[in-house]
């Protein structure tokens, strides 16, 4: 199952992995919301690079366009709208005990996930080695995603549009200034 990878590929994989972890750590520890958002954008860009390396070019493009482009811009827009760009003068982290609990929970989760990821993949579920590259050559980067999306998952795809419509209506209703507040 594990095929041999060129040194360049392995080096880039580890490079972007380390960059994404370092940016995520910087993101969690920044006081200013703007700095945190920009570090998170950095994490998302390196994840997009990893997606491309894992034969998911379309997902990588979507990651840059939707996540780093649209969602993070909305976050920064709200930060600007509420004038929250300055680091808050009161302490932004919780007290000692929640932080301690967070570290313990984090270590427990990490060990749990590591244990699970060591498990073996059932052989009969696996597609043959090189299947992804073969699909990519046959249908192209977008067709690989689009074929299942518009065949097996068509109903879910249509329901997603309803979800987006509900989200738009909800955001407008919640964000609207009511008559009583305006006075």
């Amino acid at each position: 199952m594990e095929q041999h990878y060129p040194l360049f590929y392995t080096f880039n994989f580890y490079f972007f992995g380390v960059v994404s972890i370092a940016s995520a750590l910087a993101f969690v520890t920044r006081k200013s919301p703007v700095a945190a958002a920009l570090w998170l954008v950095n994490t998302m860009f390196s994840l997009a690079a990893l997606f491309v390396m894992l034969d998911a070019q379309f997902i990588g493009v979507m990651q840059v366009l939707v996540y780093a482009g649209a969602i993070m811009v909305v976050f920064l827009f709200v930060v600007m709208l509420l004038n929250l760009g300055h680091p808050s003068e009161i302490a932004d982290t919780r007290g000692k005990w929640p932080a301690f609990a967070a570290v313990v929970i984090g270590i427990a989760m990490l060990s749990m996930i590591m244990t699970i990821s060591r498990g073996r993949i059932a052989g009969e579920l696996q597609v043959p080695s090189g299947f992804a590259a073969q699909q990519l050559g046959k249908y192209g980067a977008i067709g690989t995603v689009a074929r299942p999306l518009f065949n097996e998952y068509l109903l879910a795809f249509e329901l997603t549009s309803v979800l987006l419509l509900v989200a738009i209506a909800g955001a407008v209703v919640l964000g609207r200034r009511r008559e009583a507040d305006a006075r």
């Binding site: 994989f13 969690v28 994840l47 939707v66 996540y67 969602i71 709200v78 570290v103 299942p148 407008v172």
Partner: protein, 97 residues
């Protein structure tokens, strides 16, 4: 590269969880949730190499849900800010007994 991807995704998810637990700024907590969703996306993409392209379809769905969640959540944050003049979660304790 499957094991490496899963390990990286576990680390990123854990950083997100710790951020949610430790920070008090509502916007930063929201961004931590986005980081957790990203970590799960990495798992999907890594597995999609071995189980077929359905994993990538699920990533598309996760991204849609994340966009919807960000829109509604930020609207809620804006309306909380109008009432409280703050988005520090320490001040939002109406339901505390």
């Amino acid at each position: 590269m499957l094991a490496e991807s899963l390990a990286l995704s576990a680390v990123l998810f854990t950083i997100g969880v710790v951020g949610v637990l430790v920070r008090r700024n509502a916007i930063i907590i929201f961004m931590c949730v986005e980081l957790m969703l990203n970590a799960v996306n990495l798992t999907f993409v890594a597995f999609s190499r071995y189980y077929g392209a359905e994993g990538q379809v699920f990533v598309v769905f996760v991204m849609t849900v994340a966009a919807a969640e960000a829109a509604v959540g930020l609207a809620i944050i804006i309306s909380i800010f109008r009432h409280q003049q703050s988005i520090n979660l320490q001040n939002i304790n109406l339901l505390k007994g």
